[in-house]
Amino acid sequence: MGEFRMPSLGADMAAGTLVAWRKQPGDVVHRGDIIAEVETDKGVIEVEVFDEGVVETLLVAVNAKVPVGTPLASIASAGSIAAVPSAPSPVQAPPPAAARVHATPLARTVAKALGVDVTKVHGTGDGGVIVRADVDRAAAEVTSTPRPDRMRQAIAAAMTRSKREIPHFYLAHTVDLGPALTWLSARNEARSVTDRVLPGALFVRAVARAARAVPELNAHWTGESAPPLPYVHVGVAVALRGGGLVAPAIHDTDTLDVDGVMRAMADLVDRARGLKLTATEMGEATITVTSLGDRGVEVNVPVIVPPQVAIVGFGKVVDRPWVVAGVVVPRPVVTISLAADHRVTDGHRAGRFLASVVAFLEDPEKP
């Protein structure tokens, strides 16, 4: 038995109005036959049926507006034509008996444990039977789908507010990372792979130290002003595998050494991707760092996360011709972009902040 459902007649169509039935219960239908007329924002459209069989029951009355995907009629397969009842009127139509779902015992056991409705699972086993892998997949969709949707909405709201309310201005600086990377590799040399520190930790630490040195950009906009905060919690933007991103905070980042920053970042990334962050971690950042270097991006000009007043973007570390003591030499360089809130600070102070970030990067030992 098949079901004829309200079709999607355009990517933006959420619902449609059934204008007329072209077939009645008992009518034989073939794939491609026009079965009904549906009105959408774009006008009345004739819709075709995809099943072979006999129209069994009309489930939706004419002029009803229903969401896309709603069953409109049940269609008995050709083999069960004899069982077609005499045509009831659509308004009195009882819901069709649930078709037997073919799922393996294990699939049903797992579905029950995971709270998955097997009638809504697409089977990929022999003859379309639902096997455990199908249930696992359905469960993963159920748990992950709403999350990115909600997250997307949250990102949309925050970014719209940011671009509407915050007069952004942008400064950038390209830094020779040679000394920092040499310092880092010397430090990492004696360590096991799991204890090694990545350049990203240096970036976060440099921003934290600069935020302490130039506190004006380490603040929350309160509606009138943005008094500097007495602590530095650097938010680290983490892209999630299912889409979306979060920027949880590392508490008191300015007090940590690079090892501490590295450990905190690894922990945050793990928990962010496991969706195990706490609400306070999500809302406490005083300034944010974002890096798209691992995606090959060279210049990353970011959008401030309200109520913060600054965000620092790091690009990819690339080898470039660089003038050192009058000679062109290849150096690993990175471009740092600062987006700052012009209500709170100006180019002069922001430039000092950026120069401070650069100074901490150029000399990782700098106290």
Partner: protein
């Protein structure tokens, strides 16, 4: 530990039993002067003499009955029946007497009898010497049935059966006798009453015994080349079945292929399948598949005999069937 043939494994155990216990004697057609139809008792007549290694007439019901009487009277007979097909002639003694006497006498009489017999096909011996009828014995309460599939088990199971106070039937697949494997003649026998995982795997379980174990392991190797990891469970003991091991392997893999050289209808594979349905139903992620002999008397012609028996290719196909393109 040394390399030895399966028949040497059996012979080692027979010799051990004869040496260890003066009550032990061998009885069967051609076990003495000829050394056994499959040479399992070669040399034992010379070593232990005609009192203890006795050739029997071609009268299975008669000499099995005599052995049962001897066992009741305090001796420890080890009987060889040339093939399981001929053992049908002794079914009356085995089923009506050996299996029942402990129960019918409220434990006053026990029958410590070991009956070994060849089973299986693959050597062009014709239908009357090639069938796998171990399920006939595995049906009967009061009998225990062992199916050694390795050289070590060929030795260990004879010794364990000999230590058992009740009748034990040992079925030895005839294609195994000349095969070689590791044999530790001094090791204490591994308990024969439980199944053993011969190869671990995650994607499906092959449950088998006796002569089909090596075919199953070959199939597992072929499947591994395609990235399919099957677990191979050797049942070893056909009665009582190791239900826990059967449930455990399918609980790990959720798919089962049962390989049994006897016929499908009413066979041991059906019993294992029913066990899975009763005890592991909610673990099954695909219908259970059986690879058994085609339901004809085993043909004599080589190509027909091969076509009638389980083969690695048929096992591979069955495993892929239960996986349904999943790996």
């Amino acid at each position: 530990m040394r390399r030895a043939t399966y028949r040497e494994g059996v012979r080692t155990a027979l010799r051990d039993a004869l040496r260890r216990d003066p009550r032990v004697f061998l009885l069967g057609e051609d076990v003495g002067r000829y050394g056994g139809a499959y040479a399992c008792s070669a040399g034992l007549l010379e070593e232990f003499g005609p009192e203890r290694v006795r050739d029997a007439p071609l009268a299975e019901n008669g000499f099995v009955g005599a052995a049962i009487g001897a066992a009741m009277g305090g001796l420890r007979p080890i009987v060889e029946i040339m093939t399981v097909n001929f053992a049908l002639l002794a079914l009356d003694q085995l089923v009506n007497n050996a299996a029942t006497l402990r129960h019918m006498t409220a434990g006053q009489v026990s029958v410590p009898l070991v009956v070994r017999m060849a089973t299986g096909a693959g050597r062009q011996l014709g239908a009357q010497h090639s069938h796998s009828l171990e399920n006939w014995f595995a049906h009967v309460p009061g009998l225990r049935v062992l199916a050694p599939a390795t050289v070590q088990d060929a030795r260990d199971m004879v010794l364990a059966a000999f230590d058992d106070p009740d009748p034990v039937v040992i079925v030895e697949n005839q294609v195994l006798y000349p095969t070689e494997g590791d044999l530790d003649e001094d090791a204490p026998p591994v308990s024969p009453w439980h199944a053993i995982v011969r190869r671990p795997g995650r994607d499906a379980s092959i449950i088998t015994h006796g002569g089909s174990l090596s075919k199953s392991l070959v199939a597992a190797e072929l499947l591994a080349k395609e990235g399919i990891e099957v677990e191979v469970l050797d049942l070893r003991c056909l009665r009582p079945l190791d239900v826990d091991a059967i449930v455990a392997t399918v609980t790990r893999t959720h798919r089962a292929v049962l390989v049994d050289e006897s016929w499908k209808t009413g066979g041991l594979a059906a019993e294992v399948c029913a066990t899975l349905v009763e005890r592991a139903f909610y673990e099954l992620d695909a219908p259970v598949a059986r690879v058994c002999s085609v339901e004809v008397p085993v043909p004599y012609a080589k190509h027909l005999e091969d076509a009638a028996l389980p083969s690695p290719a048929r096992i591979v196909d069955a495993v892929k069937g239960v996986l349904h393109g999943r790996i």
